[in-house]
């Protein structure tokens, strides 16, 4: 299968190792990964901040980059960005009265999957240790990000994949379904409430005794990890793609770096 990677802006710029882990997993399964070069961002930050006018060219750029027959399915290592592509792009086009963009956005949205969705529902991965050689001998807890949980209804897909990694110990996170408080520009506009939500999330994570907290959205993990770091905690955050990509021969570093063949950290 030819799979187009939508890296998402935050992963592209801040967490390239998550995108590289995504590529590694898919190639390990024997698929061809392409990277549509025009891609940039899903536009969610603009939309969720009320800047519809500014969101339009961002949405149009994404649709232009992915509206091709050059691939079978598109995948992104983010529930939130995929939810934006699937649910918000049409809304933005409609509000701007652009019926042609709305129609093209619907085609792109239908072909776009969140990583655990693609692995589980399309590629039939049920046992990461057996099918991907995943090995990660660490104690891990897991935060299900809101948009993956409530907009994409991912259910336990990410958690089940994590549980099937060799050597891993997955511990349950109390109040897991509570938002971490990120919310895009909410974290700046309502910084005090956002910080209070983050503090509770951080306390719950630290209470599990896990070495790190995994999840499916780099933005939420940056938020949680940034809070833990400020508190002086040793607990870090790591995207589940990097845990799936980790093997006995090429282990992921719990300190944030992932070592994969042919690249720098």
């Amino acid at each position: 299968m030819k799979i187009a990677l939508f890296a998402t802006c935050i992963v592209d710029a801040m967490y390239p190792r998550t995108a590289r882990a995504t590529v590694a997993i898919l190639e390990r399964l024997g698929h061809e990964v392409v990277f549509p070069p025009g891609q940039a961002c899903c536009g969610q930050m603009h939309v969720n901040s009320g800047y519809f006018k500014e969101a339009r060219p961002v949405v149009a750029n994404h649709v232009r980059a992915f509206d091709t027959d050059d691939y079978d399915v598109a995948v992104a290592p983010s529930g939130s960005c995929v939810a934006s592509v699937k649910h918000q792009h049409g809304l933005v086009a409609r509000r701007c009265g652009d019926a042609a963009l709305e129609a093209r956005a619907a085609v792109v949205g239908a072909k776009t999957y969140e990583l655990s969705q693609l692995l589980t529902d399309v590629l039939g991965v049920t046992n990461a240790a057996e099918q991907l050689g995943s090995h990660f001998p660490h104690r891990v807890t897991y935060h299900p990000s809101c948009h993956g949980m409530r907009l994409l209804r991912l259910g336990d897909r990410q958690l089940d994949l994590l549980r099937s990694v060799g050597g891993i110990e997955v511990v349950e996170l109390p109040e897991a379904e509570q938002c971490c408080g990120f919310g895009g520009t909410f974290s700046m506009k309502n910084a005090d409430v956002s910080s209070a939500m983050m503090a509770d999330k951080a306390a719950n994570i630290c209470g599990t005794g896990a070495e790190l907290c995994s999840g499916g959205d780099a933005s939420c993990l940056m938020h949680i990890g940034g809070g833990l770091s400020r508190q002086g905690s040793d607990v870090g955050t790591l995207h589940f793609a990097e845990i799936l990509a980790s093997t006995l021969e090429e282990p992921a570093s719990v300190n944030g770096g992932v070592l994969l063949a042919g690249g720098v950290r």
């Binding site: 025009g38 009320g50 519809f52 961002v58 750029n61 938002c179 974290s187 209070a196 983050m198 400020r230």
Partner: protein, 508 residues
């Protein structure tokens, strides 16, 4: 606001009264967050109700179908509201009730005052009602020399303390029992000075206090949960029995109801009597449901009035992206699951309607530019928990985003210096509307290391971003972006970086 002609007045009449935030939400939230007692009380209370709701909802195999029905019935009601209101009026009037129409809070308050004056009474008992809180009826009546006594336990506590409700179902959710005991000892005449803070003793004190009012009151004022168009019936759903007392004992009953409270048919109650108690109190069925249709000679109130209140509801109905907010049946499930409400409490929202539903309903009814209501749609991380529990499936996150757009556009329309947020969004529009633009920007990533300290994290940023760094670090950016790595891996001979093709990018 939509300019589409919907058969309604082209100029929306916005709502007045207690529908406004008077200070920006972030400022109010900061103050409330500093109250550790409030945080603990609210956290405990919201989690308790939340868990109760989840348990009783899980008992019904057809819960999702019930939600779909509730949503469909309310959508149909709103689509046909003018005709249903007239049908309701005809049926209510035919059974001896008298209808009064109020455009806004002021008109409603005046109408109620005149109706009370006509009885010669200067005291009324009240059934808990959001509509009368919204229009500030108690304060208005007090200024006219009429004393209104709240009879719901929590409303009584709030009224005795001269406080404001902070939750639409549990108005005193922000007070613990020791605080309630102090209020009773201070404000209740004839209270036992040895009153303890045991819930049963506190309820007994309130019961004795209220009983005297019930038995002497000649006039009652209520709200209504539902108005049934095909029979002209009003319904009040409650837990304490104080409502039943007020609705049956006095000679005159004056009800204030928002025009959106209608249901087309009596039979529709079947759906809503399943949705409402489970969503609000987490009970399978509420203890008291009172239904009345006009006047029954020799039984109950003989003067039955209804004030039908607009106060911005028509304006909300005219907003095609926001109108489903009117489907709200005031269950408060959204408040009980909201991570923002749980931490700030209801007072931070300013309006009578707090929490997620208040953050959309208040600005929809008043207009986004009214006082500080433009800050309310931002009082959410858009986590979506509210939408999941809403019994009538109001897509609150989507309406929040719509109203943020209204706020941005309204500020854009005013000639002014762009805000930091405007500039950030404009810059991001350029960066994110083309792969080559983003690539160009990402070439500067190693510069980010300069901002980071020895521990490879950024601890302090200026301006708006300082909101982030007040409690969170940012990792130092990587040496190269993913797309730069990909380019080197896949086209090492040319060195072409994806997104560097100058023919792509730009406006669609």
């Amino acid at each position: 606001m939509s300019n589409t002609f919907l058969g309604m007045p082209s100029l929306p009449v916005f709502g007045h009264g207690n529908l406004h935030a008077t200070e920006p939400f972030p400022k109010a939230a900061r103050r409330e967050l500093g109250n550790a007692q409030l945080r603990a009380t609210l956290g405990h209370a919201t989690h308790t109700i939340r868990d109760k709701r989840a348990k009783v909802v899980a008992e019904l195999a057809d819960w999702e179908e019930l939600r779909d029905s509730g949503s469909a019935i309310k959508n149909a009601t709103m689509a046909n509201l003018p005709a249903l209101l007239e049908q309701f009026e005809a049926n209510f009037t035919a059974r001896g009730g008298i209808i009064h129409w109020a455009r806004d809070a002021q008109e409603a308050n005046q109408l109620v005052t005149e109706l009370i004056r006509a009885t010669g009474e200067t005291e009324v008992v009240k059934v808990k009602s959001m509509a009368t809180q919204e229009i500030g009826l108690n304060e208005y009546l007090e200024a006219q020399g009429i004393a209104a006594f709240e009879t719901d336990l929590a409303e009584l506590i709030v009224q005795l303390d001269r406080d404001k409700p902070s939750h639409i179902l549990v108005p005193a959710i922000h007070k613990n029992r020791s605080q309630i005991r102090e209020i009773f000892l201070r404000e209740m005449e004839d209270v036992d000075p040895a009153l303890s803070n045991e819930p049963a003793r506190l309820a007994e004190a309130a019961r004795r206090h209220l009983r005297r009012k019930f038995l002497s009151a000649k006039v009652a004022v209520s709200g209504a949960n539902f108005g049934l168009a095909d029979t002209g019936t009003l319904a009040v759903v409650e837990s304490e029995g104080n409502g039943r007392m007020c609705l049956t004992l006095p000679e005159t009953l004056i009800t204030v109801m928002g025009i959106e409270k209608l249901l087309p048919r009596w039979a529709d109650l079947e759906v809503f009597m399943q949705l409402l108690p489970r969503s609000s109190t987490g009970e399978r069925m509420n203890p008291y449901t009172s239904l009345w249709t006009g006047v029954t000679p020799g039984d109950g109130p003989q003067n039955v009035h209804l004030v039908l209140l607009d106060n911005g509801r028509t304006a909300a109905l005219a907003d095609e992206y926001g109108r489903t907010a009117l489907n709200c049946i005031r269950c408060s499930a959204c408040m009980n699951v909201c991570p923002v409400y749980e931490r700030t409490g209801g007072h931070a929202y300013g309006s009578t309607y707090p929490g997620p539903i208040g953050a959309i309903l208040s600005p929809l009814m008043t207009g986004i530019t009214s006082e500080e209501n433009g800050s309310l749609p931002y009082a959410s991380s858009l986590c979506g928990a509210c939408y999941d529990v809403c019994p009538v499936k109001i897509n609150i996150p989507e309406i929040l985003v719509h109203l943020r757009g209204e706020d941005v556009d309204s500020r854009r329309a005013k000639a002014r210096v762009p805000s930091q947020m405007d500039l950030m969004m404009k810059g991001a529009e350029w960066a994110f509307s083309s792969g080559s633009h983003l690539n160009l920007l990402e070439k500067g990533l190693p510069l980010g290391k300069l901002a980071a300290g020895r521990d490879k994290v950024i601890k302090k940023l200026p301006g708006l971003a300082g909101g982030w760094t007040q409690s969170r670090d940012i990792p130092a950016p990587p040496e190269q972006s993913f797309r730069q790595w990909w380019a080197k891996e896949h086209e090492p001979s040319t060195g072409v970086v994806p997104g560097n093709n100058s023919s792509e990018g730009g406006q669609a």
